[in-house]
């Protein structure tokens, strides 16, 4: 578990990107899980976990005050677990994705708590804010950023610290073959992605035909290989 501290810091930085700073979307699963995989020595397997998570994450629209899973720190946990488990045994990707989904769910709850914490801090500084004190405005912003970094780093540390030993234990008892395990997780991810694509884009005129056209191109590319 020597990787716990650097992974936690990575999770902190990536979790910060989800909402607070700089929102360059390196917190997207396909990026975060790949980077986490590279951190523990296998970017390729980190990316496999990240791609499956990315398909699922397409359904998440972070509109305003809506509540959504926190994919950044979760992808770090899942990507690192997927890349650290024994590749030759079955279930590696499946277990990594499972760990990430569980962390994303808890991470979403921590984002709600962070926003409540920020509101508490803002209420406490209300007189200074009403007086136009620049120190209060800047202080609140820095407090929010720091709290978010700590939240994400702790989430990653606890998530990885608890789930990695559990994941290793599960993998040692895993009985399904690698292909079957991957096919189950890919089926679910593709289904979530397809339903998300329909839900988000169907209101745009002709989008179903664009999807169908893309599908034909994708299948032809597959057959041509």
């Amino acid at each position: 578990m020597r990787e716990l501290l650097p992974l936690s810091l990575l999770g902190g930085v990536i979790g910060l990107d989800v909402v607070c700073f700089p929102q360059m979307m390196f917190s997207r699963p396909v990026v975060a899980a790949t980077v986490a995989g590279a951190f523990v020595g296998d970017a390729e397997r980190g990316m496999l976990v990240g791609v499956v998570l990315e398909l699922i994450a397409i359904a998440t629209l972070p509109f305003g005050a809506s509540r959504y899973p926190e994919w950044g720190s979760a992808a770090v946990v899942g990507g690192a677990i997927g890349a650290t488990l024994h590749a030759e045994q079955g279930g590696t990707i499946t277990i990594g994705v499972l760990a990430a989904l569980a962390t994303a769910w808890v991470g979403g709850l921590t984002l709600v708590k962070l926003r409540q914490w920020n509101a508490f801090l803002a209420r406490r500084r209300r007189p200074a804010l009403d007086a136009g004190a620049r120190g209060a405005v800047i202080g609140l912003q820095l407090a929010g950023l720091t709290s978010d970094f700590v939240r994400a780093a702790l989430l990653t540390a606890i998530g990885y610290g608890l789930l990695f030993p559990l994941a290793a234990h599960i993998q040692s008892a895993w009985t399904f073959s690698g292909p079957l395990s991957r096919s189950v997780v890919v089926t679910l991810a593709a289904a979530v992605a397809a339903s998300a694509v329909w839900t988000i884009f169907h209101s745009a005129r002709g989008s179903r035909w664009y999807f169908a056209g893309g599908l034909v191109v994708g299948l032809l590319l597959l057959l041509g290989r």
Partner: protein, 264 residues
């Protein structure tokens, strides 16, 4: 949409004050952290004050003068917008404050602008540009791209749009001040989301089977089975939309699968 209300209530922009380049860099950099203190009560409000602070220092009396304090207090109250398009508000409010526009006009403007900046930005970025960039990266993955290329495609493509949108917003906001509303009617913002939706739908059609095939790494028969079952399951998910979240369903089903794998 309340944009027309803003348009009617706003005066034509007067020749504006000038701000040093260094101040613009500070404002732009702070905009990357505009949601740093996001909360359920003032939402983006504190972030707006935080971003405007370097510009407001140029008010008469400097950062210790009454004009600065009044402006800071006004600009740090409730505000809601998409974080990228909030740049339009930051630019416009900076110009209004430094031009000495009366406080009540600025407050009316803030109220009127918040809705359109939120809804337009959400449709353009979260439901358009982001999934489009993500699906293109997944298609590249499916075509065999290595990790660095997949990550690079996504980050470069997404952030080209991201930074361009922020820079555009700040520029038009500053240029037009309280008369910025017509800029929100630009074809990019009006028709962009629909075009992006179609492009993303096409990208999804390409990306999903290719990405699935590479993760599976198996035969065409297995891929066909996976895609067929996924298609049926997606119909079920569409029918129960709003009642079941996809990621939670995936979590439960994968957990069950793991349990069976370990227990049998």
């Amino acid at each position: 949409m309340t944009a027309p209300a803003v348009q009617h209530a706003s005066p034509a922009p007067q020749p504006g004050p000038s701000i040093p380049a260094w101040t613009w860099i500070a404002v732009f950099t702070r905009m990357l952290a505009i949601q740093g203190a996001w909360n359920y009560e003032t939402l983006l409000g504190n972030g707006i004050g935080f971003c405007l602070e370097p510009a407001l220092r140029h008010l008469p009396g400097g950062p210790h003068g009454p004009a600065f304090k009044q402006a800071m207090a006004r600009e740090s109250t409730y505000f809601n917008a998409h974080p990228y398009l909030a740049a339009v508000a930051v630019g416009a409010l900076a110009r209004a404050e430094l031009s000495g526009v009366p406080a009540e006009r600025i407050e009316r403007f803030r109220t009127a602008l918040a809705g359109p900046l939120g809804s337009v930005g959400d449709r353009l970025v979260w439901a358009g540009w982001l999934p489009f960039a993500s699906l293109l990266a997944l298609a590249a993955f499916g075509l065999g791209a290595r990790p660095l290329l997949v990550v690079g495609i996504f980050l470069v493509l997404f952030n080209a749009g991201h930074f361009a949108l922020r820079a555009w917003g700040l520029r038009v906001g500053w240029k037009h001040g309280l008369a910025v509303a017509p800029s929100l009617g630009t074809p990019l913002l009006r028709r962009g989301p629909a075009h992006l939706a179609r492009a993303a739908a096409a990208a999804a059609g390409v990306a999903v089977p290719l990405a699935a095939a590479r993760v599976l790494g198996g035969s065409h028969v297995m891929l066909a089975t996976v895609l067929g079952v996924a298609a049926m399951l997606s119909v079920v998910l569409i029918r129960v939309h709003g009642r079941v979240e996809g990621y939670k369903l995936a979590l439960v089903l994968i957990a069950l699968f793991a349990l069976i794998s370990v227990a049998r």
